[in-house]
């Protein structure tokens, strides 16, 4: 879950890009991992139209403690459990399954903090 930090203005961002989103400096970003950071849910939905093996498909915008931001598919939340402001930690899970080539693809997903009550 590698984002980047601009060395010119110190802004952490995702994804890494050639131009800093904050200060506009070019080619100044260095890789920085987000997977160990805690996050906070900024917005979410529980989508009954989107395809998922286990409806509803729960996803939303997550702000990381150090300043980066990402829209991601959530995991381990029961329907009705996510709220704006929920604290999340990143876990590495199956993102999709390629039925033609039989690949499992993995990516990071926000999950509830373990000691939150359900």
């Amino acid at each position: 879950m590698v984002g980047a930090r601009c060395v010119a203005c110190n802004t952490l961002q995702f994804p890494r890009s050639q131009v800093c989103v904050k200060c506009g400096a070019m080619e100044t970003q260095q890789d920085e991992s987000l997977s160990g950071l805690l996050g906070r849910v900024k917005s979410y939905t529980e989508d009954w139209l989107a395809y998922t093996p286990l409806p509803p498909y729960i996803y939303g915008n997550v702000e990381f403690a150090d300043g980066a931001n990402c829209m991601l598919e959530f995991t381990d939340f029961e329907p009705g459990q996510v709220k704006v402001g929920s604290a999340v930690r990143m876990v590495f899970r199956i993102k999709d399954f390629d039925v033609k080539r039989h690949f499992r693809r993995y990516f990071w997903k926000p999950a509830p903090i373990l000691n939150e009550t359900r």
């Binding site: 989103v21 529980e46 998922t52 702000e63 931001n69």
Partner: protein, 400 residues
């Protein structure tokens, strides 16, 4: 020093097809339906059109890329035709091209046509599209309702609003749009709905229910434009002119970092400010008489009232429920029924909005006619709240 587009270009003819499930039509039939109306309205022949812009988003499968679909459909006399696309602002972008060509003096008369045949897919909702090879690896497989539903949770949290109150305001918006669309023979949906219908409708993506979502439809709309001087020469008396056309695409601000709180449309705010400056509007709430905004989802219309600077921050719910945007309210919104009743044939919507503003300004909106409007706003939002293209345009009566 450039002064913008205000009062340089007049719309002398417009046409709009019936929107809906047009199983019996291909894009060519829809194009012709809108075109015939516009030709009669402008009182010109097809040969007098010198350049054309075609707005077409998804239906590259049926209509095809490039100038060819429009040139072939209308047997245009090999005039320059440019196909444009800017997500849901595609129709407006086609108009913008035609308007700029005429304002630049590159030609006298230009056509802008927007068309989309979305019902041929055979399923509900929009077709999948790739977001670019890297984005598909990490972004969720979001639907349009799910992406816009994000606005609702963020807005409710930010302004500390109970979700049932937000849902009630969203329901009012859909009820209002259906009441307007019921007066419009060109709309896809022409029946009224009740607040209960909206509140109790099946959940699509929390908190958006079925009645909070616009439908998928087929349709076409077009405009014929010329310079104000040429329009006078041609004998037009009451002129509808373009007062502003502004566009603002996302640049990553909303998503890359924590600068955005998810509860408003950043690009709409920028496009609106620029459009007001271009048109010389200093008090939008007082000066704008009517609006057609991008009600792909009811919650989008709600936040756009604040993004356009019409409602104060956090004030949209109260104003919606007070009827400020109803047909008999202070600033009627979606007077033709909006995307809610027309559906959203993507290439056509921007021009369909301009069509209603045009009819209203000329006093030709029949049972939907407002009392002497002289300035109308159209707004498109293509993409998702967190990454999109916003357009804001203003149309009004020409005053020398």
């Amino acid at each position: 020093m450039a002064k913008g587009i205000k009062d340089k270009v007049a719309i002398i003819g417009m046409g709009c097809s019936k929107f809906g499930e047009r199983w019996d039509c291909g894009p060519e039939e829809l194009i012709l339906e809108a075109f015939k109306e516009a030709l009669v309205d402008a009182n010109i022949s097809r040969e007098e059109i010198e350049m054309a812009w075609l707005g077409l988003f998804y239906q590259e499968q049926s209509a095809g890329k490039s100038a060819l679909p429009l040139s072939l459909a209308l047997r245009l006399p090999n005039i320059p035709v440019t196909r444009v696309e800017n997500l849901c602002a595609t129709g407006t972008e086609a108009l913008r091209g035609a308007v700029y060509a005429v304002a630049a003096g590159a030609c006298d008369i230009a056509l802008a046509m927007g068309v989309e045949k979305l019902k041929d897919t055979g399923y509900g909702g929009l077709p999948e599209r790739t977001k670019g090879s890297f984005d598909d690896l990490w972004l969720p497989n979001a639907t349009a309702p799910g992406a816009f539903a994000q606005l609702a949770s963020a807005y409710a949290a930010k302004h500390k609003i109970d979700m049932q109150d937000l849902k009630r305001a969203m329901a009012h918006i859909s009820v209002k749009s259906h009441a307007n669309g019921a007066l419009n023979p060109k709309a896809h949906l022409q029946k009224t709905i009740t607040e209960d219908d909206a509140m109790n409708a099946g959940m699509i993506a929390y908190p958006l229910g079925l009645m909070d979502c616009c439908g998928v439809s087929d349709g076409a709309a077009c405009a014929i434009v010329t310079s104000v001087e040429k329009a006078r020469e041609m004998g037009f008396k009451d002129l509808v002119t373009v007062k502003a056309m502004q566009l603002a695409p996302s640049n990553g601000f909303e998503m890359s970092n924590t600068g955005w709180d998810g509860s408003y449309l950043h690009t709409t705010r920028l496009a609106a400010k620029r459009a007001y400056a271009e048109a010389g509007v200093t008090h939008p709430r007082q000066e704008i008489h009517m609006m057609e905004v991008h009600d792909c989802f009811s919650v989008t219309e709600l936040v756009v009232m604040e993004d356009l600077g019409i409602s104060p921050e956090g004030g949209a719910i109260k104003e919606v429920l007070d009827g400020v945007f109803d047909r008999d309210g202070e600033v009627p919104c979606q007077i033709d029924g909006g995307l809610k009743c027309f559906g959203h044939p993507i290439g056509a919507s921007g021009l369909r909005m301009a069509y209603e503003m045009y009819l209203q300004l000329l006093g030709r909106a029949g049972p939907r006619q407002l009392n002497s409007p002289s300035l109308g706003l159209t707004h498109n939002l293509g993409g998702h709240p967190f990454r999109n293209v916003a357009s804001v345009s203003l149309f009004g009566l020409y005053s020398a």
